[in-house]
């Protein structure tokens, strides 16, 4: 019916915390299209990471449904979810989450290893990806010897190893200086605009606004505003 990369319908999530229950998401509806870079913004504790985890099939919602590329994933078994994450979704984390004992090329190669590629081929493909993120010369460096921006570029190379339609990034620039942040954002924007991927970036860094096609504001687990960014079509309708 639609070509949404991700379709979130009436998703709620409540965490039990001792006797008290924390309501992290309250009936969220959201559609993200291919070729779109969306910023998900909101105060701390507003439910951004929770929403990203649910869209990334790492967390199950208490209510509602999530479809990725038209396939309903909410009902999938624990056994099937790793495949969904591997084949459709790329993750980028604030803390990079690289493997300190592996070189840059092996960190990226690991993503191919997960997909059953032979060692040599994995290594060749990983080298190509590192060149794409402009790190061809750092292929044998360990994460400890890379700058924050370089680490995040290795992480992006790893995230796109499976050629996913969706890339989910949680505060990808929070640990980076302004210049590195720009490089990373340009890479992610390129993925959306040149290769038609759906990119969701959680941030509360206003400097990233200029890269967004769309900005979604979330507060207390509900979307409070959803607008095309500067030069876009203005406010969309907001479910409340």
């Amino acid at each position: 019916m639609s070509d949404s990369a991700i379709r979130v319908r009436d998703v709620s999530k409540t965490f039990a915390q001792g006797a008290a229950a924390v309501r992290a998401l309250a009936g969220v509806d959201l559609d993200i299209d291919c070729g779109e870079l969306m910023l998900l913004m909101g105060p701390s504790g507003s439910g951004k990471t929770t929403l990203l985890s649910i869209m990334g099939c790492m967390l199950r919602p208490c209510r509602g449904s999530v479809s990725i590329l038209g396939e309903e994933v909410t009902g999938l078994s624990e056994r099937d979810l790793p495949r969904v994450r591997r084949d459709w979704i790329g993750f980028v984390f604030q803390g990079f989450n690289l493997f300190p004992t592996l070189t840059a090329v092996d960190n990226v190669g690991l993503a191919f290893d997960l997909r059953g590629l032979p060692r040599r081929q994995a290594s060749r493909r990983a080298t190509e990806l590192l060149e794409q993120v402009d790190l061809g010369d750092k292929r044998d460096a360990f994460p400890a010897d890379l700058s924050g921006g370089q680490k995040q570029r290795v992480a992006i190379a790893r995230a796109i190893a499976g050629d996913p339609w969706v890339v989910l990034a949680d505060e990808p620039t929070a640990s980076l200086d302004t210049r590195s942040g720009r490089v990373v954002m340009k890479l992610l924007r390129g993925l959306a605009h040149d290769r038609g991927r759906a990119i969701v970036i959680v941030t509360h860094d206003n400097r990233l606004l200029e890269y967004a096609d769309r900005i979604v504001q979330i507060e207390d687990g509900s979307i409070v505003s959803d607008s095309a960014s500067a030069g876009g079509a203005g406010e969309r309708s907001v479910h409340s």
Partner: protein, 372 residues
């Protein structure tokens, strides 16, 4: 790849894991070797006798405990169809007087020179036929010093009678503290003050193709007042007595089990700690699409690599320990089957230890991957 890097990355922890495995392997190999050595030693006279059946007084619990009975039973045995050979045999304690005058207790083994059932083996000096001399005896190389008899031809005293060293065996260790002294039956009768018309055992060789159990039953029917056992049965009875009734074997087995438990605990603990240390990496692997199966492979591979290193080092150390103990007089055996079995045991130990930590990585907590 990741498994290996993870391991070598933390060299101290790898060293602790491997040390734990080495400790367990050495403990288990040495204790089991000791156990096998002990067991083999307790019944070596029976196992090496060449007899198919052992006839003794009623309810003899182990070979050293045989009591005399009338030698006239021998003719009944000989007359039984299926018997190829049968002869008298004695094993009894006696006093040994060294050339320097010191005394020691020995176990005199008297066998028949015609049938040679129960004759000494592994002979390194002299021949069995040398025992035809009325006062000739063989002792084992291990006890030369202790019995004060270093050379062939030396004269000693057994139970106040003259005895002459006619030869030496090698590696025939006595399980009790009393060394074996081999001699012909007639001489042994004198040394052990056995009555002229008595024997302690009758050893029977069955004719070829005769069913030994069938022969045992026929003999038992003809000899109601005494016991007829197959060699295997008597061997097992003797082993069981020394190993379990006395508790000697139990203690050794217990130490082996202890080694296994200590090994599992150390390995489980370190592998678990390693897993917890890398928990965020495992969570990341899951997030980017690794199946549980992939994570199991990484963890189990880590365990297997540690196991192989620990096993190799452990066996080398165990062999050195066993070599060293040869001189000190303990019998530790290391049969090839045990070396192979130990590899399997080490792998099982390490992999089952790894299973403890596998539970830790099967749940994916997004908080682990998304924290800054």
């Amino acid at each position: 790849m990741l498994a290996w890097r993870n391991l070598v990355h933390d060299k101290i922890r790898l060293a602790v894991t491997v040390t734990g495995i080495v400790f367990a392997v050495v403990l288990i190999v040495v204790e089991l070797g000791l156990f096998i050595g002990f067991t083999t030693t307790t019944s070596s006279l029976i196992d090496q006798s060449g007899a198919d059946l052992w006839i003794s007084a009623r309810n003899v619990p182990f070979i050293e405990q045989g009591t005399p009975f009338s030698e006239r039973k021998l003719s009944t045995v000989m007359a039984t169809p299926g018997v190829a050979a049968a002869s008298k045999y004695v094993l009894r304690f006696a006093e040994w007087k060294r050339p320097d005058g010191g005394q020691d207790s020995v176990l005199v083994v008297g066998f028949d020179l015609q049938t040679r059932l129960g004759a000494p083996w592994n002979i390194i000096a002299g021949q069995v036929d040398d025992l035809r001399q009325p006062d000739a005896v063989f002792i084992d190389d291990i006890y030369r010093e202790r019995l004060g008899a270093a050379r062939v031809g030396q004269v000693v005293e057994v139970q106040g009678r003259r005895a002459r060293i006619a030869g030496f065996t090698q590696g025939i260790r006595a399980f009790t503290t009393s060394p074996y002294v081999f001699t012909r039956f007639k001489a042994a009768q004198n040394y052990t003050v056995l009555r002229e018309d008595e024997t302690v055992y009758l050893l029977v060789k069955a004719k070829p193709n005769v069913d030994v159990e069938g022969l045992r039953r026929r003999l038992a029917a003809r000899l109601p007042s005494i016991d007829v056992m197959t060699t295997a049965e008597f061997s097992r009875r003797t082993r069981l007595f020394w190993m379990f009734t006395t508790g000697a074997g139990l203690a050794v087995l217990l130490a082996a089990v202890l080694g296994l438990v200590v090994g599992i605990v150390i390995v489980a603990q370190t592998i678990y700690a390693t897993t917890v240390d890398h928990i965020r990496e495992y969570a990341t692997l899951k997030a980017i699409g690794a199946s549980n199966w992939y994570l199991y492979k990484v963890i189990v591979l880590q365990a297997v690599i540690s196991a192989l290193i620990g096993y190799a080092l452990g066996i080398v150390i165990a062999v050195l320990v066993i070599r060293g103990s040869k001189e000190s007089g303990a019998a530790i055996l290391l049969p090839p089957g045990m070396v192979a079995g130990m590899l399997v045991l080490t792998l099982v130990m390490c992999v089952s230890a790894a299973i403890f930590s596998i539970r830790k990585v099967t749940r994916l907590d997004p908080a682990l991957v998304f924290k800054g």
